[in-house]
Amino acid sequence: MTQAQQHEHVAAREKVLEVHNLHVTFKTFGGEVKAVRGVSFDLYKGETLAIVGESGCGKSVTSNAIMGLIPQPPGRIENGQIVYNGKDLSKMPKKALRKIQGMDISMIFQDPMTALNPTLTIGEQLTEGIRTHHGLSKDEAKKRAIEMLNLVGIPNPEERLKQYAHQFSGGMRQRIVIAIALICEPDVLIADEPTTALDVTIQAQILELFASIQERMGISIILITHDLGVVAKIADRIAVMYAGQIIEIGTKRDIFYRNTHPYTRGLLNSVPRLDLLEEELKPIDGTPPDLFDPPVGCGFAARCPFAMDVCEHVEPPATYITEEHRSYCWQQDERAKGLFANY
């Protein structure tokens, strides 16, 4: 099958969002940080795409770029397209973008303790988005807000609307943040580490909530996280990011069981496992490259135990292992096949 045919096949599912060759840079006193260096992925209707990677790999910058939340200056979308509904969000004027923000694409933030405004009631924060976008009256918006609080599992919604953020627990606050993000019934929900700030029992509840909401509303979720446990639980597809680039993307099974990139393997090996008691954790040696001056070749070459000469000089091209499983590693090149048979 040629690549063109493969693309055609994938296109049979409905694409909600396409990111093409996204480059984001930040000007700082120390120079220009190339935070995202050519990220491309598609998001399909009703799926959960997890973007995983260590801190500073550009996963949050990618999500902020989609959301139009890159502060400009110092940030800048240098190159690439973010296509939603046939329109390129990265080049849209702010006013037009505001019509999409919160309405078609919305976002959940990491820390529910700081994501809610301490001086406004929950009711106001829930309803202001839908009142702006749909022009609902106060009563209609309130009715909708009560529905949403019921949906995310907050008891006594009517009284709770009049309360402030500090009157809720962390898990409850995250439920409210989710309700705010979903009140306009968006097509795409970007969740930036939605469970990181919560304790484990609450995490499980919030993940269940995600699953049930997705089933009910059919939204597509981009889940930004470094928690592979969360990914295993709710993701359909996974994109692994490293040094501002996607290095491997595929279905959950592809990434967990049929992964091809040494970094993906390293990442999975550094997760503690309860079923293999004797095995020691294997951290990846070295540190991620300096994004002020990113390497010319593969970003992972310096830390990669299998690095070849070519890795340091030429950026690896995309290799399609299956139509959905894409890897950026020279090992997958035809010419390198056989070299690593022993591994």
């Binding site: 959301m67 939340l69 973008l97 505001r98 019509k99 999409i100 923000q101 919160g102 309405m103 919305s106 976002m107 933030f109 990491q110 820390d111 700081t114 994501a115 809610l116 405004n117 301490p118 001086t119 406004l120 009631t121 202001e128 988005g129 702006t132 976008h133 402030y164 500090h166 943040v177 705010i180 993000a181």
Partner: protein
């Protein structure tokens, strides 16, 4: 809330009582008496006068009658101005001082908040530099210097505005400007720095992600949170504006309380000293109480009824 107000009210009374007692002690520890500057040196007349004003009573007795005067709010006649009572002086002078003070506060708050907010929104831009330059100038120039410069320029050379008195809105412009510039500068700086901090908060990012209009984000989400430090300094600022009115009143020949206040101390006019001091401190304590209430209204996390009452 009601129990907080009652508690707070009792604390206010205690505060005023302490101020009154201190004033009494200080007043009588200054050497001299109201009649020192009188031409007559006849000891008999002196004695009769002292007897008339109960100044020959032992201090504890005077203290008790002084407290009685405060409670009944009748401070009796002025010693140096025989035709006036303290109450009539207050009635005449205080409304004018209050007017000057209140206009100043309002002008300083509104202009300071607007200037600070604009500076924060255009951080490191032209407006920011301009606003901060004004703020530095405003903080460093004392109001009496500014007042004389304003008179010289706008009343003297340009002749646009009257130089003195307090008879029409036009007359109010220069004194208000002179008095409001300092507080405005402080408020502008404070608003700017707290606004800058608030604008980096997650909830502002979240408001942006909702697709709200920028003005709504600033006014509804940011400004209220940024106002907390401004409200905090409001209390002390009120005190400085109130005493600032004395100087400005003198420069612009405004017939407010300032003149009587200063004169009364020079003349050891005991009833006027205690009347004005107690009245002003009561006013200030009350304003601080209002500030605390506003605090609670701005930030729902501050629960007034649970807080222990405090003397401010």
């Amino acid at each position: 809330m009601v129990s907080y107000i009652i508690k707070r009210f009792l604390m206010m009374i205690a505060t005023i009582f302490i101020i009154a007692t201190l004033t009494f002690a200080l007043m009588h520890s200054i050497p001299g008496s109201p009649f020192d500057s009188d031409k007559t040196s006849n000891p008999v007349i002196q004695q009769n006068l002292e007897k008339f004003y109960h100044l020959d009573d032992p201090l504890p007795v005077q203290y008790v009658s002084y407290l009685k005067a405060i409670v009944t709010f009748d401070f009796g006649p002025s010693i140096k101005k025989p035709n006036e009572t303290v109450n009539s002086l207050l009635e005449r002078g205080f409304p004018i001082s209050l007017e000057l003070g209140m206009i100043t506060i309002i002008v300083a708050c509104i202009s300071g908040i607007i200037l600070g907010t604009l500076a924060a929104l255009r951080h490191n831009g032209l407006i920011d530099y301009f606003a901060m330059a004004i703020a530095v100038i405003g903080i460093s120039i004392p109001n009496f210097i500014l007042a004389t410069v304003l008179i010289q320029v706008f009343a003297g050379q340009l002749g646009w505005l009257p130089a003195a008195t307090w008879s029409s809105p036009k007359h109010m412009i220069l004194p208000t400007l002179a008095l409001a510039t300092g507080p405005m500068a402080i408020i502008a700086r404070l608003t700017r720095s707290s606004m800058l901090e608030v604008l980096t908060q997650d909830y502002i990012k979240m408001a942006k992600a909702k697709g709200l209009k920028p003005w709504r984000i600033v006014f509804r989400h940011a400004l209220r949170n940024a106002m907390m430090p401004v409200v905090t300094i409001m209390g002390t600022m009120l005190a400085s504006i109130l005493t600032g009115t004395f100087v400005i009143e003198k420069i612009f020949a405004i017939p407010g309380m300032g003149k009587y206040f200063v004169e009364s101390i020079n003349n050891r006019d005991y009833p006027v000293i205690m009347g004005t001091t107690v009245f002003y401190s009561a006013f200030l304590v009350f304003m601080l109480f209002i500030v605390d209430i506003v605090y609670g209204l701005l930030d729902p996390r501050i629960k007034l009824h649970k807080k222990e009452g405090e003397t401010s």
